[in-house]
Symmetry: C2
Subunit: 719 residues, 2 copies
């Protein structure tokens, strides 16, 4: 495996910047200032045609004048100057670049062509670059900040790869206030060279990054994304926000960084497959990511809720409950211990609600320690009155009662947070999450933040962050299966496809499709193709009444509602009538498939479809008439493993139907799983197949049998 290009790009010993000047209101200058002022200790070389000094550093008129070959070149110049500049850096041997400049692919054809040229220049010199149309990177370990905003001194633990630059610049002040700090952050821009998968891989390898968050508007290499993510998620949490799945979302994204959006359900499926936690807002991405970046990890599902106000306790319990975590009633022993510290009317059973009580030591240390020590919880959520934030409210009204001493003096009357309270999560190896409405400007909140204990400003947000921790626990513990080796390509199957394509068919007929499926072990209905009524009668005799009759021709891809199907045909007389009816409905002589009539109350569907950049994907879900009603399906990239199929079975809402349902026997899941895996393999072996649709798969007794099948073909094989 070649080394990830971001290792050097994010850790340059020297940086040349083109586009910085002494005008502080220019983006290039702001970015140069961030490099100079935030503590980066490498060499800094401004390139400027006219200025002798830029921001106190000697400036060089041309790239060729630089005193050494810089590890990294940063370009913040007019679009038309980018390509020549990169060429010059290539000539002097620079191997890494960040191209901030916009005006490429995202603007249309001309820009797209310029981007191709840019990529060609980079390839010529073996340059790897981030951008164009990005805001740069942050590496807090070496205090390197290329963005226009300021970065905290202390390195963080959260790694971000973002398809929007805003989320590593405009949000820096927001994050600073919340105590959330990046280890590394990468604004990817148009991803002309280095893309989000490279960034994900890099963050996965980075030992300072304890959790990874991804802002995604579209993936162009979905297949590699999953491969890389799958390797990371067992040992490092990855969270993602995806916003490309609607028309407006996609359009906004397109004009933004030219990302390629795909449907929401596809992203849901691949995130699940890769073990990535999906969140629904940038706030949650940061908040949940930060909770997961902090230590210790969550070990179980039992939540303690500690508070001095009932509303937040109720809301947090409610969110935990809905998310599958438990807020267990404490043992009598523990309740008794807690009751010694709370008022008579207060609640001690979990949630613990002290009610109005200004003794912060009890709220932050004494009772939390009792709860953690008890072994009765795996996590503790704490909400309540804090330090300066609350006291400022009191002071506002009561200053004169305290002789109008300044607020700082007033605060000296109260004990600051006990250092022991900050050690609790590590002492007991139990995560502690703080919820307080005084998050921004509070001595307790600040102390918690500085100790790496997550602080959020709403009870629900805090509880939801815990749910993401719980989700990650499940991801870490989930079974992992090896991908089986791909079976041999079936020669008969290949023959069917070849013949059909030669014949200019756009699909296989149902019967041929089923023979092909059978060849790969998929159980299908017993059936015989009959060209004449006589053949049909003989076939029906062989299969046994009642039977189903279906017009069978590749041109008839969707048969229902057109008089081309007769179900429950009970005897020869009816068969003759129905056979003729089908011929009439078809408007021509059409072969008829004589099929065993399956009975079963449970119908599923399976299918295969290809998405650009993702390749073949396998779908599973509820079939039959309810298919369109509930859209109850799930999707995975092929090839799929046994573990994938088990997770797919658990994904759908109708999962109960797979079990012992209303007296019906549990579905033979291994057989269903085999069908799903076969679909993936067929797609990988036969790139000419663009789509497979098996609906319904009827559960006959306990056995899943494919009752209808469509295999769509294309001349141009897809990947």
């Amino acid at each position: 495996m070649p080394e990830n290009p971001l290792h050097l790009l994010m850790n340059p010993k020297s940086i040349a910047v083109v586009g910085a000047s002494n005008n502080p209101m220019k983006m290039g200058t702001m970015q140069a200032l961030s490099i100079i002022k935030d503590g980066y200790r490498g060499k800094f070389y401004p390139v400027h045609l006219t200025e002798k000094m830029v921001l106190g550093h000697k400036a060089y008129a041309r790239v060729e004048d630089l005193p050494e070959t810089p590890d990294l070149a940063i370009l913040i110049v007019p679009t038309k100057a980018v390509i020549e500049l990169l060429d010059r850096f290539g000539k002097i041997g620079t191997k890494k670049a960040i191209i901030i400049t916009a005006g490429f692919k995202e603007t249309g054809t001309t820009g797209r062509n310029m981007e191709y040229d840019l990529v060609a220049v980079a390839e010529k010199y073996g340059i790897r670059f981030v951008g164009p149309n990005c805001v740069g990177i942050i590496n807090s370990q070496i205090h390197l900040n290329v963005t226009v905003a300021g970065m905290p001194d202390e390195p963080g633990m959260l790694g971000l790869a973002s398809q929007s630059g805003t989320y590593i610049t405009q949000t820096l002040a927001y994050l600073r206030e919340r105590g959330i700090r990046f280890s590394k952050a990468i604004s990817l821009g148009n991803e002309a060279n280095i893309n989000i998968v490279d960034a994900l891989e890099f963050l996965g390898e980075d030992k300072h990054t304890k959790a990874i968050i991804l802002y995604i508007e579209g993936l162009r290499d979905g297949r590699r994304f999953i491969e890389v993510a799958r390797k990371i998620t067992p040992h490092k949490p990855v969270l993602a926000q995806y916003v490309g799945g609607t028309a407006a979302g996609a359009r906004a994204g397109l004009s933004h960084t030219g990302a390629m959006a795909g449907p929401d359900f596809l992203y849901n499926g691949i995130f699940r497959q890769a073990g990535i936690i999906r969140v629904e807002s940038i706030e949650d991405l940061y908040a949940h990511g930060w909770a997961l970046a902090t230590k210790p990890p969550l070990r179980g599902n039992r939540v303690g809720v500690m508070t001095n106000s009932g509303g937040p306790a109720t809301a947090m319990s409610y969110v935990c409950d809905l998310g599958g975590m438990e807020v267990p009633r404490f043992s009598e022993k523990l309740q008794k211990e807690i009751r010694q510290h709370i008022q008579a009317q207060a609640a001690g059973a979990n949630p613990v609600d002290m009610t109005f009580d200004l003794d912060m030591r009890k709220l932050a240390l004494t009772i939390p320690e009792l709860i953690m020590k008890s072994g009765e919880v795996d996590a503790l959520l704490l909400h309540g009155t804090m330090g300066t934030g609350f006291m400022r409210e009191v002071y506002h009204h009561a200053a004169d009662l305290f002789g109008n001493i300044p607020f700082a003096e007033f605060m000296k009357l109260f004990n600051p947070i006990d250092a022991e309270a900050l050690k609790l999560p590590h002492k007991y190896k139990i995560p502690l999450l703080i919820s307080t409405f005084f998050d921004i400007d509070d001595s307790y909140a600040t102390a918690y933040k500085n100790s790496g204990i997550p602080v959020f400003n709403s009870p629900e947000k805090t509880a939801r962050a815990l749910l993401s921790m719980y989700r990650y626990k499940q991801i870490k513990e989930r079974q992992r299966c090896k991908v089986s080796t791909l079976p041999q390509k079936n020669p008969a199957a290949a023959g069917f496809i070849r013949d059909a394509l030669k014949n200019k068919q756009k699909a296989l007929d149902e019967h041929t499709a089923k023979i092909l499926l059978s060849a790969y072990g998929v159980p299908v209905t017993k059936e015989i193709l009959a060209k004449t009524e006589k053949e049909a009668i003989a076939a029906a005799k062989k299969i046994g009444y009642p039977i189903a009759l279906k017009a069978c021709s590749w041109e008839i891809m969707h048969k229902s509602g057109k008089g081309l199907i007769a179900l429950n045909v009970e005897d020869e007389i009816k068969l003759k009538i129905k056979f003729q009816n089908i011929q009439k409905a078809a408007g021509r002589k059409v072969p008829v498939l004589v099929q065993e009539m399956l009975s079963g109350n449970r119908e599923f569907l399976a299918g295969m479809t290809r998405f650009a950049g993702f390749g073949p994907c396998v779908v599973f879900g509820l079939g039959g008439v309810f298919t369109e009603i509930y859209n109850d399906t799930t999707i995975r990239l092929a090839p799929i493993t046994k573990c994938d199929t088990e997770e797919m079975f658990a994904d759908i809402h109708a999962r109960k139907l797979l079990g012992d349902f209303r007296g019906l026997p549990p579905v033979k899941k291994d057989q269903l799983a085999k069908t799903l895996r076969a679909l993936g393999n067929i797609a990988l072996l036969h790139p000419e197949i663009t789509e497979i649709d098996l609906n319904p798969i009827i559960i006959s007794g306990a056995k899943p049998i494919v009752a209808d099948a469509l295999i769509v073909l294309a001349d141009k094989p897809k990947d």
Copy 2:
């Protein structure tokens, strides 16, 4: 209608407080300080046994010593002192009280009994009170603040009724920072006397309250709640958070204010029926409530998105799209106008993404005005660089380039927000919502907040608030139907019930249930009760084969899977066998219902159930085997109107099944609606019926026919 007790309680000319002292760290003192310091201009009388002066006001040793009868008494005293004190206030003629003191119902039996006594004392004197176990009230119009935290000077527009006191105290600083201000706020506590419905009614009548938000842990008078809410929501938005619907949520709530929780789906149903918008967090409750309290109201579903950074634009568009709003592509004309103000690589089609550009006038005024003026949008979302918030980031790095002038001087180099930008929403009658990560400390954000333009710190939160505005637009526009007068009680039906109860039955048998339903116009299967095989044969002949056979006895409430049903019985021979089988399965001689065999692919369910405090509710949803799989149901309180039934049809996910589905005719919705209304009426006319379960209702052709029915009875009539 008697005047709402909160009118006087919230507008007292004089207040007596018992429990305030000169110790500023006591809750009572803090509350008294809020009254004194926040601008209340009425009389303030502290009652204190020993102090002569309390907080600079003459104190009175006993209630009887007060110089006048105070309009309002506030008690923050030990629990055991409350009842006697209220009695004393009653004696001097005070009619309104706020009882802050806790230790009543929420603590168990003793407390509950004390609360009964407290209520009795109040009733004796005609006193109406809020509490106990609350934090008090805020009336910003008269600058009256009874809570322990500080309140902004300027009155607000948002009315809150909360079953948690935290949300009108601990959050005051949080709200102040976000520019969200209460008109009135009421902490309800245990609701021993004045309850959340009274508060809702009061806020509905209050002309300063432009939107109402409710924090609910449980309703005890659900029926009146709906009645009151229904009257308010057509002209004033009401939003609610409900957190009692899970085990832990309910337990937390119970120990909190002794509220009564009910299942989530019940609250979903009644909120829909009442036109209340449900939100999922306290953050959203405040934020969406505030957006709805500001003006102008939303008139359509077209959203303009204006920004200088792509990520937030994409995220906001995505949320709008998912929520059913449209982010339309602008006309060529408008795009051309916009393009004159943005860089070549920027996007102007909507979202408008200026990309990096420090010209705030363009972002906040020029382009927004072009968009609003065009008539192409109904709302504008704006996200981007703001004033001091962003400039502080620049200053942090560039101060020395500006000769280290102080930040305030530095800011003078830039234009403050143009006053015209703040007038846009009113000028064009188009709501403007601001998203900025610099919400807390930014000159633009502050100016927007002060102008009553909502500002939020995440793009998704901003877009979600707009969705609540859109939801309210739909609520305002929805059709409203009058409740039909209750039909006459059917004497035969009453007779069945009387006889059954006399016979100690817990339910009606299926056949009797269906006769009863028929009497109220509900279409049921053709069926004849047969006691003997002979009778069954005759009945089948009359109905016509195939028929269904079912054991019919009130004791057999759930028949399926027990051999007590035979479907599709085709002829007399089979009938005889099945008849005997049923007798065997029953283990005794049992009458058999001979029923027409309905065929239909679509099955629904309807039912009636009673919840304490809510009375009879009508359920509608998907029936048949999928009932338990998808739980796709909706609920309304009886009596239900035609409008209710139409909304119920739209509520369920399977709504497509009601239409022209896969070649089947659209369901006769009017007949289905009639059945739902009948269920409500039956429940209201016959309180002895505790539950009705109609499942399946088979759609035969287009006609809904009840194929199975269960009517459960109780000796003790329910309301």
